[in-house]
Symmetry: C2
Subunit: 661 residues, 2 copies
């Protein structure tokens, strides 16, 4: 498309978007389903039907909502500091935020993937990707806590991630921003992009027993931008599909320069073939990389960060049969695979149609070499040879597609702000409903599995404007729930979200709730500074390091009076919560200190490091209201001058003076 035509399209797109936003129906309007209140109401004491794991976007965290109530059940800290939960503040959690380049306090969490067995959610783990510092994290669904974070080398952004295969064999990660490979330490000019900037696709293996991740291999590709991806399933198991944009290989003003080609590509990767090449020693061992691998252990209640230095790289251009490009109009965003695995839907955000590719046709095209040429050494399959068909005039700005398991697809349209339902086989449009406003991702529970549980579709919208009471210049993003049990989609609830709701997934509560850990057993606590009961509480000096072994139980700390700390000391409060009842956490903080707080679950040990910056008396207290006598759950720490002869003493309830008033 010529530049002038492109600009006209842009004007049209944004013109329509503006108009659309300007004329939204006020109030509930006709779009809201009758009986919607009853359909979304979860009465006090009742449970929601689904856990909805929603990306927190630029918060770096993962939110857990109940569906259909839209209630926020928990924010799970993943990539960012969380002052509320002490995540990144306790000694035990600090290693989780380490990277190959030091501590990173924040990330941009994008997509959410529930682990799968036989192509259905198994309720074991949730994987999420960090889009800024390229990382993948695994959350354990017995504890709802982050269990592992793996950094990815040779990547400048990790957007098309952490999509997974049907038995969680692999979690993938494709570079959004191509960069010079990590090993290349030269000072690279930006205008040598086409020569020096590369993409990579990382295939991360997952241990079936404990979930531990490892980079099995990377595939080096030309410097296109990888946007999203999905694994094949059923008939297409063994393949992975990635959408690409910027096949123009532009490095500036991508808004224009990466929007010139009428078609970009879907990249089809044969990962079973990759395994063969790997076994045959065709991978290149690269040892000049650096990436962190962080694991949290819920027995020792500690985490470790290990720097790794090796990765195996396969070359996409050299290894035949590994990668194929499929032309796709225009700047495709989502690439989604239907429940059978036969149909691959890729939505070009600047396209006026949606192409649906056929896996069996792709295989035939490869066999018969129906190629239109190659791009950077990778064969390009003829568009028509891969195509099942096109959805015509579907809407403006198609982004993502989910499936209902009844032969239908629902696609989100950012520019025309709507969801459109269409039939996968005959490509006919069946229904369309407005979203308020510009929808990004959408989600059907199990919508990317072999067996969707198609009761609701949820739209996760990028613009909220006047949907909720105004809160100044910054507004929450929003989600909208539609009932899809009938032929027509019916809007039943709006709810606001934390951060930015990129992709989300939802799972039936039954698959998760009964596995939930309620307490950590004290007798299993292997923390190196575990305090086994109040009688074991103590304070130990080792040079300028002071270790305080503290217990908490309603409604006191042992010890609660500590003297003999000196300026220049590093003090470690190792706090063991010796409660063994569910929902009986204690908090720990030192008044006026500059280090944050601990939140300690029953049976757990957590450590707060404190380097006192002044002499004086410092109250310490429980920060989580725990009992009728919570306000009394406090004590004092005395900090003396350096070299003071005040001995280390610690006690609870014994040093009450009677002689002074």
């Amino acid at each position: 498309m010529k530049s002038k035509q492109f600009l006209l399209l842009m004007i049209a797109l944004f013109g329509i978007a503006t108009t659309f936003e300007g004329c939204k129906p006020k109030g509930a309007g006709s779009a809201v389903s009758a009986g919607a209140a009853e359909k979304t109401y979860v009465a006090p004491g009742q449970y929601d039907e689904f856990y909805n794991f929603v990306s927190g976007g630029f918060s770096g965290q993962l939110s857990v909502y109940g569906l259909p109530s839209g209630r926020l059940l928990r924010v799970i800290p993943v990539f960012s500091l969380d002052p509320e939960k002490g995540w990144g503040f306790s000694e035990e959690t600090k290693p989780m935020l380490e990277t190959s380049h030091g501590t990173v306090p924040w990330d941009d969490l994008h997509h959410v993937q529930l682990s799968k067995t036989d192509g259905d959610y198994d309720g074991r783990w949730v994987f999420v990707n960090g889009n800024n510092t390229p990382r993948i994290a695994r959350i354990d669904l017995t504890t709802f806590r982050t269990a592992e974070i793996l950094e990815l080398p040779n990547s400048g952004g990790n957007h098309s991630s952490p999509y997974i295969t049907e038995n969680t064999e692999y979690v993938v990660a494709g570079t959004r921003f191509s960069v010079p490979m990590d090993g290349d330490d030269s000072d690279t000019p930006i205008n040598t992009y086409k020569k020096n900037f590369k993409g990579t696709l990382s295939f991360v293996s997952v241990n079936k027993d404990n979930g531990h991740m490892d980079i099995a291999f990377q595939i080096e590709t030309p410097g296109v931008n990888f946007d999203l991806s999905r694994a094949g399933k059923g008939v297409s198991h063994g393949w992975f599909f990635f959408s690409t944009y910027n096949t123009e290989l532009a490095s500036t003003l991508l808004e224009v320069n990466a929007s010139k080609n009428d078609k970009d590509f879907v990249l089809a990767v044969n990962w079973k073939k990759a395994e063969e090449y790997l076994k045959a020693g065709k991978g290149k061992k690269v040892s000049n990389v650096k990436y962190a691998h962080n694991i949290y252990d819920e027995t020792s209640h500690t985490s470790t960060s290990t720097i790794k230095n090796e990765v195996i790289v396969l070359n996409s251009a050299e290894l035949e049969g590994l990668c194929y490009f499929i032309p796709c109009p225009k700047s495709p965003h989502g690439v989604d695979v239907d429940p059978t695995g036969e149909y691959i839907v890729s939505s070009g955000k600047l396209a006026a149609l949606i192409p649906v590719f056929s896996f069996s046709k792709i295989q035939k095209a490869i066999e018969s070499k129906s190629f239109e040429g190659e791009f950077a050494g990778i064969p390009v399959i003829k568009y028509e040879a891969a195509l099942h068909g096109e959805v015509e005039k579907p809407g403006l700005g198609p982004l993502h597609t989910e499936f209902d398991g009844k032969g239908n697809a629902i696609t989100s349209f950012f520019v025309s702000s709507e969801l459109v339902k269409w039939n996968i086989k005959d490509l006919k449009i069946l229904d369309r409903v407005p979203t308020f406003y510009s929808v990004g991702h959408l989600m059907i529970p199990g919508g990317d599995t072999k067996n969707p549980d198609a009761k609701y579709v949820v739209a996760y919208n990028k613009i909220t404007k006047d949907r909720f009471l105004p809160t100044g210049p910054e507004l929450a993003h929003s989600a909208q729930i539609y009932d899809i049990t009938g032929d027509k989609m019916q809007l039943i609830l709006d709810f606001p979200t934390i951060g930015e709701p990129h992709y989300a997934q939802a799972i039936r509560a039954e698959k998760v709730k009964d596995k939930s850990v309620k307490i950590f057993k004290l007798e299993e606590n292997k923390h190196p500074y575990f305090t086994n009961g109040e009688s074991a509480a103590k304070v130990e000096r080792n040079g300028n390091k002071v270790h305080v072994y503290v217990t908490t139980i309603r409604s006191h700390f042992t010890p609660d009076n500590i003297e003999g700390i000196q300026m220049g000391d590093e003090v470690y409060f190792h706090v063991t919560n010796i409660e063994q009842d569910w929902d009986m956490p204690h908090g720990f903080a030192i008044k006026g200190a500059n280090n944050g707080e601990l939140l300690i679950m029953p049976g757990e040990t957590q450590t707060l490091k404190w380097v006192p910056d002044r002499i004086g008396i410092f109250p310490m207290y429980c920060t989580d209201f725990c009992s009728a006598l919570h306000q009394e759950m406090s004590g004092y720490v005395r900090v003396s001058p350096k070299g003071s002869n005040v001995p280390i003493t610690f006690s609870v309830g014994t040093n009450q003076p009677t002689d002074t008033q």
Copy 2:
């Protein structure tokens, strides 16, 4: 009460609590009101009736919920780092987290107070207190952002805060943990508590025009623990009431040692008298203190932190008529003043009754010197002389009371997990409903004003257990909404909350929503590094400091390619969002950097500091999905070795090479 008796009471209290939790009704149960779904449902596109400002507790932030939907509309960062919003990460917000002892990344936010005019909410500001580092913050309700934070000297915890007078003349702050006064630099043994540890009450004035706070005076008191407080109103305007516990002046195992006295005190403070003493020069100027005063300016979009060194202290024992103790059974927690100002309800959490004091009787007792003696130089009014009457057998563990404006009070009971409604005049109990589970604070919209808007009461509960789908060992706290328009309180909704919901207040949406700022006007932007349009974008080197003047607008940065940065540089990205549409923020982050992100509202300038730690190519991108071409909104920064001769260049769209592939 003797020690053995006390222990029996404790066993009884916790025994009952345990039993109660063990037998909660499963499911919705009979407690849920008919028609509850319709009563709490807010249809898509409709607004909630009330803004509910809810303390985030140990998150350090303030949550804004809609009532009756229970939807979380916004988390306002106050005392803690917020990676989501860049709070504490941008150069503009870093000063807001400064204290007299450096940056503090966290606090424990407790209570919420809407500003008042004539004893009713005026919708201008919300005040909140930091319980860890003693501070008060003011949130501006035109922007829903933190506008000011004031630290408090001579304080070891600030719990009985930030309660305010009926025209927002003062915001108060009472020390929860007594400590040696700041000026006392001696190394103080803990067992000299009774001699050396003091309480203080800070009276902070509020400028009527711009809300700016200032410590008008402090009152030095004996070392009791101040728990909560309320201003007088109407007839009692000019007085302030504080609950105290630990009148035993214990410093260890307070659970036992501060629970010995059968009665503790309510402290009545005549602040009009304090003003007279101040005018008469009776205050002591104390100049060996240190506290930070941080102000955010929404025109320059920057904040400043100033360290102050002076405070005026009044002595509670020496200045006659300033302070009076009123005996109150037993370890009182809440102290609440009814809409008329005549009745003061103070709930002893270990008491088996609720005393209601009469302001006019207190005045008569003072006139007639009906004192039973004095405590630390302060007269103690005879209990019976101050008493209106007692609510008998109300429940176990009374904590807080709110008022319905129809002559009734509703009190929360932590141990017996219930709300109890009673008549203020005749002290008869009218109704009781269970809460699930242990309720702390409760809230009626306007419940502490002269004119409560008594449609709902909300219970903010400390224990959740099985009310929502389980999320591992850590569960959200919960709130429960009861309809109180009829004679009987009817439970209509449970909703989970962020952090810990200490006190909350709610205000009719009409009083706030139309004042909400939607954008910052570009022509009013006075930021020192404001970039006035794309043509003004530039990069300036000044020694090793590099200032990048960047603009953002859908869908590009200007500039987006930057070269000439060197190792050893401090780079400041001053990003101006030149959009002027509501809900059109942009984000800014540098891939793989270790500094967090910016979230920039339309018309605003924010700065991200970056000290590159390695040479290479660093993508930069918009972190908040902004348009159909958001994924294209990116660029590259090149970092060269120190001493490199790569010149500073910056551009957008112009350096696309054609000669390399």
